[in-house]
Symmetry: C2
Subunit: 116 residues, 2 copies
């Protein structure tokens, strides 16, 4: 065996560490607002508002798989969500605490907006 997973098992590296997440101090307002300014990504964020982790596949998004990958990555790069590998699936969760610390009230305002 010489896969990435096998290597992590040998070295004891946590699986989640392979995914890059910006630290909370480096979250940028413009980047977060941009990440939240797409309808599909707003659906994702609202789906995570409950606080529980969810797999990408558990969302019923109006786009194909590869586009989902794109949107989840935009959210992760902006620091809106945190992703963790779990077998073949990737679990995502909102970074509520980090967002609240950096931009107090922002996420609640977005989630509380009356749509349409």
């Amino acid at each position: 065996m010489s896969t990435a997973v096998a290597k992590r098992k040998r070295t004891g590296e946590p699986a989640g560490e392979v995914l890059a997440h910006p630290p909370r101090e480096e979250l940028e307002l413009a980047a977060v607002l941009h990440a939240l300014s797409d309808p599909v990504r707003l659906l994702i964020v609202e789906g995570l508002a409950g606080g529980e982790e969810r797999s990408c596949k558990s969302f019923d998004l109006p786009v194909v798989k590869s586009t989902c990958t794109h949107h989840f990555r935009v959210l992760r790069d902006a620091g809106v969500i945190r992703q963790r590998l779990d077998g073949t699936t990737k679990m995502s969760a909102l970074r509520r605490d980090d967002l609240e610390h950096r931009f107090p009230g922002l996420l609640d305002a977005v989630l509380g907006a009356r749509h349409h």
Copy 2:
């Protein structure tokens, strides 16, 4: 005389009416977030946070005039600001009440964010 201003004087049409502004019920979250997701436009919004009207020229923005026109129009089309003609200058102001009604807490969260 056959200018637009002369025509408005003849017909009694208010000068401010020539600028299109979306009504408060039609403000869209994604559009507002997108309008706020640009650094130059964030500068404009912060400059209007005091509540007073300001001319475009009173801002010291790091872009040329025509680009300013673009950014102010994006903000106006999204419903973030209201613009009014006053002679050769165009006065801009935040639509605080409308934004607060439609997306409670959003503008305060954006304005209160700790930058950099």
